[in-house]
């Protein structure tokens, strides 16, 4: 991580572009789109993301800037972590009270398997489905799957696909979905705050950011819970995947595939 940092601070072109992008995004401010059953909240961070991506395709950004930008995401997330952690000190008693929920909601990560695996199998994905749906597919999961199944395995292709998808769309999607769920479901903002800690810094900040946009008076509680939940996810998430999620995903996959083959077979019998 420390290599190349010597050049990082000199990339004035990148800083100038980011400064403009950020100022314009903040100037636009947050916008709410009401869609009947609820609201879709568009925060400055979403505009910043879109302008940033747009600038990549303009001549302003060269390969060098894009590469440096990746390191600077890490720097920004460190700053975010520092801001998060200073809200945790005053919230310690809340965190202790909410401790059981904080730990148990980690099990909710199995939702990736329960919801996405049947869809994947239904759509005709094979072993790729295991790689894609066993977790949200961040760096640690990519390492785990490629190590276990081999670099050229279908499982590895699946987890790489999820990794790329999550990198591009994760923060934007979770930011929109958390605000939307807060406005259409009876789920409490603190529950949604805990859910925001999925184990990726940018996804967590986007998801909890939308909640803050809707419940500004709960800001510090939302930040403290989302941050704590994210910390727990990043610390125990991989062990959880190795010992619980991945075996469960494989088991469920073989059941679903068998069911599907049976269905296809009986259909063929009928037609034949």
């Amino acid at each position: 991580m420390s290599e190349g940092i010597g050049k990082l601070w000199k990339d004035w072109r990148l800083y100038a572009i980011i400064l403009v992008v950020v100022m314009v995004a903040e100037w636009i401010g947050s916008r709410e789109i009401s869609i009947g059953i609820g609201v879709i909240l568009l925060l400055p961070m979403l505009f910043a993301f879109i302008f940033g991506l747009g600038s990549f395709f303009s001549p302003l950004i060269k390969e060098k800037q894009a590469k440096n930008s990746e390191s600077l995401v890490f720097i920004s997330i460190s700053l975010l972590a520092a801001k998060l952690s200073v809200t945790m000190g005053p919230a310690l008693s809340l965190l202790v009270d909410i401790g059981p929920a904080l730990i148990l909601q980690e099990i909710g990560n199995l939702g990736t398997i329960l919801i996405a695996l049947p869809v994947a199998v239904f759509l005709g994905l094979k072993r790729e489905a295991v790689g894609m749906t066993h977790s949200i597919g961040r760096e640690g999961n990519v390492a785990l799957i490629t190590e276990k199944f081999g670099f050229n395995s279908p499982e590895a292709r699946g987890v790489m696909a999820m990794y790329i998808f999550g990198t591009v769309f994760g923060a934007v999607f979770l930011g929109i979905i958390s605000g939307f769920l807060a406005s259409v479901t009876p789920l409490h903002p603190l529950s949604l705050a805990m859910a925001s800690g999925v184990g990726s810094g940018s996804m967590m900040s986007a998801a909890s950011g939308s909640l803050i946009g809707l419940y500004p008076n709960l800001e510090s509680d939302i930040i403290a819970l989302a941050g704590m939940s994210n910390l727990i996810s990043s610390m125990i998430g991989l062990y959880f995947t190795i010992f619980i999620a991945l075996p469960l995903c494989e088991k469920l996959y073989s059941i679903l595939i068998k069911g599907k083959e049976k269905k296809v077979k009986s259909k063929m019998d009928l037609e034949g």
């Binding site: 800037q65 997330i77 329960l114 789920l187 529950s191």
Partner: protein, 150 residues
Amino acid sequence: MLKNMSEWLLVFVVVGIIILFGNWVGYSVVPLDALPGMLVIVLLCLSGFLLEKFLPFKIPSIIYIAILGVIASIPGLPWAEFVIESTEAINFLAITTVTLAFAGVGIGRSWADFTKLGWKMVVVGFCVLFGTFIGSAIIAEVVLRVQGLI
């Protein structure tokens, strides 16, 4: 090593300044008022990086930053009041805007790979993200209600 550290410091200062400007435009906090809070945040980050570098454990800097931040803000400790009050001037959302601006630029590099994913992968990808979020939210909700906290 020291050279490396001063370069980290420079990067943090530049990113910090961008955040202060965003914080100004978006949340009407004058940069000078938010400066002490930003210094606290940058100091926490640098200390976290130093600990990662010098302690023998394989723990990422972000964990050290989190631990230091919690210690720095436990109410009752002599410095806590300053830490909490000064950092309140820095809006969480102002930092996320900057984070996602950098992410947007950097993600351009993954865009070509992304367009190669078939639509099925995209559908499944949405289900994966939705699944983990809703799963955790429901469990958290149930536990909080059982505990009578909400």
